[in-house]
Symmetry: C2
Subunit: 436 residues, 2 copies
C-alpha cells in the first residue's frame, strides 16, 4: 500500500489519552490505512515538556512545546487535540481552524463552554470538528445521534455519563463503605482526580449532557439551567434503604421531551434494580436514547480510560481520513439551525421523589414534616423510620425516609425551605427523584 | 429549502418495513432534508399487487409491479429494497446495480448467501450497497463495526440476534409455559411466522452472525461451519433448573477470536442471570463487541419490527444522501481484502456445558452416563437429579442434569453418540454451552 496517499496529523497533548492515540497509530497503521484509504502519518507532537520520558516512543515525530509549529506547517491537515481545560485549548483550536486545520478534540469542557462559537467558526472556514471522544469515551454516542438516529425525532436521552461517580456509588453499596472511604480508594487507584469536585458534583455529567442535548434537541442548555445535584451527600444508608425498596442509586443525566418542552437534569436518582442503568457498575457508562421510530436504543461500555478514549479519537481520525467526518459535520451544522426546543422551567419538572431526613428522636417530628409536605400539596406514598441511634451527646436521632407520589421540583424546593426551618432536623436533607 | 437538490428514490417492496419507510419519508421530510442536505423524494414504489389497499397512502408515487420501471428511469439514484428471500431479490438487486442505481437493502438472507458477489459487483460498478437494517433491525451494529470500532482489532461479537426465539424463551420462563404454548401465542400476535423454523432453529441468527463475522473478522462463514442448535427442544424444566443454578437460557450467537482462530456458534446458552444478555427480554436484541482498545461495547434495542427496521433503512437513506455511505462502502470493500482469520474446527470449541437427560428410573443409569463421560475425558462439575415422575405406562422417568468442566464440542459429540446408545434413555438429550 505504498502508493496510498498520506494524511499528516499533529497531536496536541500527549498525556494519558494522547499516548493511547500514539500507541494505536503505531500498532495498527496498516489496518487504519486499509480502513481509511489514506495512511495516517503522525508528524508533530506538541507537549508541555518535550524532554519528559513517556510510555510511548516519540522517535521520528517533530516534538515541540508550541502549536506554532503545527499552525505554520502547511502539510498538517488535521490536529488531534487532547488537552483538557478551557485555555489555552480555546485559543489553540481557534488558531488551528484559522490556519486551515481540521480538529479532532476530546475536550468536553471546551465544547460545553465554546462549542457553539467553535462550530460556527469551523463552518465559516469550511473546516471540520470531530469530538466523539468528548462524551462517554469509547461509546459512539455522538455518532448514534448524528447518524443512526437521523430518521427519528429524539424523545429522550438518559444515562450514566460520569464513571467516577458510578464507581463510588457502586463500590459504596457493594462493600458497604462510606463515601469518604471509597473516594480515598478511587483517588489512590487513579479513578478519581485529586480534586474530584467536577465528577462528584455533577458538573462533568452536566457538561456532557449539555453537548448531547444540543445535538439531539437543538437546544443550548447552560449548566445553571440544569436541575443538578452531586453524589457528595449520599450516605451508605441511602443506598441500603433504596436497595431494600428495590432500587439502586445512580447519578442519572436526563434530557427528556415532555409536552413540547425539554426537562434536563443531572441528579442521583433511584432506578429500579432490574433496569440496565441500575446494573451498570464500576466506571462504565450507559446511555439510553429513545427515538420516535426506533424506540429505545441502549449503548454501554467504558466511558473513560486511556485506550477506550483513544479508540474513539482514532475512530475520528479514520472517519476524517475517509472524508465522512466532513459530511457529518456539515450535517450537524445544518441541524444546529433548527428551531430549538424550549426548556421546561426547573420548578416544573415532575417526578416521584425519595426524601431522607436525619431528625431528633422526639415526639411530633414526623408530624411536623408531614405537615410541611401536606401544606405544599406533596402527597406521601410511603414512610420508613429506622431504629433510633444514640449520639455521643446522649440525644437520639432517627432516620426518616419518605417516598412521595408524583410532584414538582418547585413544590419540593418550597417544602425543603420549610423543613430546613424546623429545629428538629440534624444533618443533611437528601432529595432524589425516582426514575420511571 | 426549496433550492435544496433532490435525491430520487425507488422503493422495492411495500410490506411491513416498506410502509414504515414511506411513513417516515412522509412525516419527516423536512428534518431528513436538513440532515441530508438533499431532499429525499420517493418516486417509484414497486409492489406485487399495486391495487392492494395499504396503511400508507401511495398517492403521488409511480406505483407498479415491475422493477423495470426503476431500472429504466435515469432519475432514480437509489433503490430501497425491502423484499425478503433470495429470488427475485438477487436478480433485482443485480439489475439495479448494473443500471447504475445504488441499493439500500434490509434482506439478510440475500446478503448472507450472495453478499460477497453483490459487494464485488457493486465495487466493480462503483456503486454502493447499504444494509444497516439487515442485521438487528434498529440497532446500528453495522455502523459500529464499520465506523466506531475502526481503531480496534475486534476480539469477539456475542449477542441475541433473533427476537422471536428470545420472546419465546423469556415468556416460557416468566409464565411457566411450554414451548408449544408460547409459540402458538407468538404466532397469534404476529411475533412468530406461521412457519417459525428459520427463527427457532437458529438459521436467522446464524445468517446475521455470518454477515457480522465477515465484516468484523474478514472471514466468510457458511451456515454449516457454525456450531448451530435451535431452541425447539428446550423444555420449561431446563429454564427452571438453569434459573436455580443462577442462569438464564438465551439463544446466543457468538464469533470469538481464540488463539488466532475464529470460534463461531449459535446455540441456546446458559448466561449468568445478572449479565446484560440474560436481562434482555422479549423480542429485544443485544450485541456485545469486544475491541482491543475499546474493551466491551454493548448495544441493545429493538432487533425487528416495522418502525425500528424502517428507522435503520431511513438512516441509510440519509447516510447515502449525505455521501457518507459511499465512503463507508469503499472502506468496507478495502477491508474485505484483508487476510481472513481461519476458523476453529467445530470439534475444538472449548466451553463448559449443561447436559440434561430424561432417563429410566432404575439402578445404574447415572453410573452408565458418568462412565460414558469419563471415557470421553469429560469431567463432571455438578449433578442434579429431580424426583422421579411416573409415566402413563407405570414406568418411572428421572431428569438428570449434569454440568461439566471445560471440555470440547468434539468430546461432547462423541459422548453423546455413546449415550444415545444406552437403552435407559427416554426422550431428548439437551446439550448447551455455558457462557463465560
Amino acid at each position: 500500500m505504498s502508493q496510498t496517499p498520506e494524511i499528516k496529523i499533529a497531536l496536541i497533548g500527549c498525556g494519558t489519552v494522547g499516548s493511547g492515540v500514539v500507541r494505536i497509530l503505531q500498532s495498527s497503521a496498516d489496518q487504519l490505512t486499509r480502513r481509511a484509504g489514506r495512511r495516517p502519518v503522525l508528524k508533530h507532537v506538541v507537549v508541555k515538556n518535550p524532554e519528559r520520558q513517556r510510555d510511548v516512543s516519540l522517535d521520528g515525530y517533530l516534538v515541540g512545546s508550541s502549536v506554532d509549529a503545527v499552525v505554520n506547517d502547511p502539510e498538517v491537515q488535521v490536529a488531534v487535540h487532547v488537552v483538557g481545560g478551557i485555555q489555552p485549548a480555546l485559543d489553540d483550536v481557534t488558531r488551528l481552524l484559522k490556519a486551515g486545520k481540521d480538529v479532532i478534540t476530546a475536550n468536553k469542557a471546551l465544547l460545553y463552554a465554546h462549542g457553539e462559537e467553535l462550530f460556527a467558526l469551523a463552518g465559516e472556514l469550511n473546516r471540520t470538528i470531530c469530538f466523539e471522544a468528548a462524551v462517554a469515551g469509547g461509546i459512539p454516542i455522538i455518532s448514534a445521534v448524528n447518524t443512526a438516529l437521523t430518521a427519528n425525532e429524539i424523545l429522550s436521552i438518559e444515562g450514566i455519563l460520569n464513571g467516577t461517580s458510578n464507581f463510588i456509588l457502586t463500590r459504596m453499596y457493594d462493600r458497604r463503605q462510606t463515601y469518604e472511604e471509597v473516594l480515598r480508594e478511587a483517588q489512590a487507584r487513579g479513578y478519581a482526580e485529586a480534586d474530584p469536585a467536577m465528577d462528584v458534583d455533577g458538573t462533568d455529567a452536566a457538561q456532557k449532557l449539555s453537548i448531547l442535548t444540543r445535538l439531539a434537541f437543538g437546544t443550548r442548555v447552560p449548566l445553571d439551567a440544569i436541575v443538578r445535584q452531586g453524589i457528595q451527600h449520599i450516605e451508605l444508608l441511602d443506598l441500603i434503604v433504596a436497595a431494600d425498596l428495590g432500587y439502586r442509586i445512580k447519578l442519572l443525566a436526563t434530557s427528556r421531551l415532555a409536552k413540547g418542552r425539554l426537562e434536563v437534569s443531572v441528579q442521583p436518582t433511584l432506578v429500579r434494580a432490574d433496569r440496565p442503568a441500575a446494573l451498570t457498575s464500576g466506571a462504565d457508562n450507559i446511555i439510553s436514547i429513545e427515538g420516535s421510530a426506533l424506540g429505545m436504543l441502549r449503548l454501554a461500555g467504558a466511558g473513560a480510560g486511556q485506550m477506550p478514549t483513544a479508540s474513539a479519537v482514532v475512530a475520528d481520525i479514520v472517519d476524517y481520513a475517509t472524508g465522512r467526518a466532513a459530511l457529518t459535520f456539515q450535517s450537524l451544522l445544518r441541524m444546529q439551525q433548527r428551531e430549538p426546543i424550549p426548556m421546561q422551567p426547573q420548578e416544573e419538572l415532575s417526578r416521584r421523589y425519595y426524601l431522607r431526613f436525619t431528625v431528633a428522636d422526639r415526639p411530633h417530628v414526623l408530624a411536623d414534616i408531614a405537615d410541611v409536605l401536606g401544606r405544599n400539596a406533596i402527597s406521601i406514598s410511603s414512610v420508613r423510620q429506622d431504629e433510633t441511634e444514640d449520639m455521643a451527646d446522649g440525644t437520639g436521632v432517627a432516620r426518616l425516609v419518605i417516598m412521595t407520589h408524583r410532584t414538582t421540583e418547585g413544590r419540593l424546593r418550597a417544602a425543603d425551605r420549610d423543613i430546613a426551618a424546623l429545629n428538629s432536623l440534624r444533618g443533611a436533607r437528601i432529595r432524589m427523584p425516582i426514575a420511571e
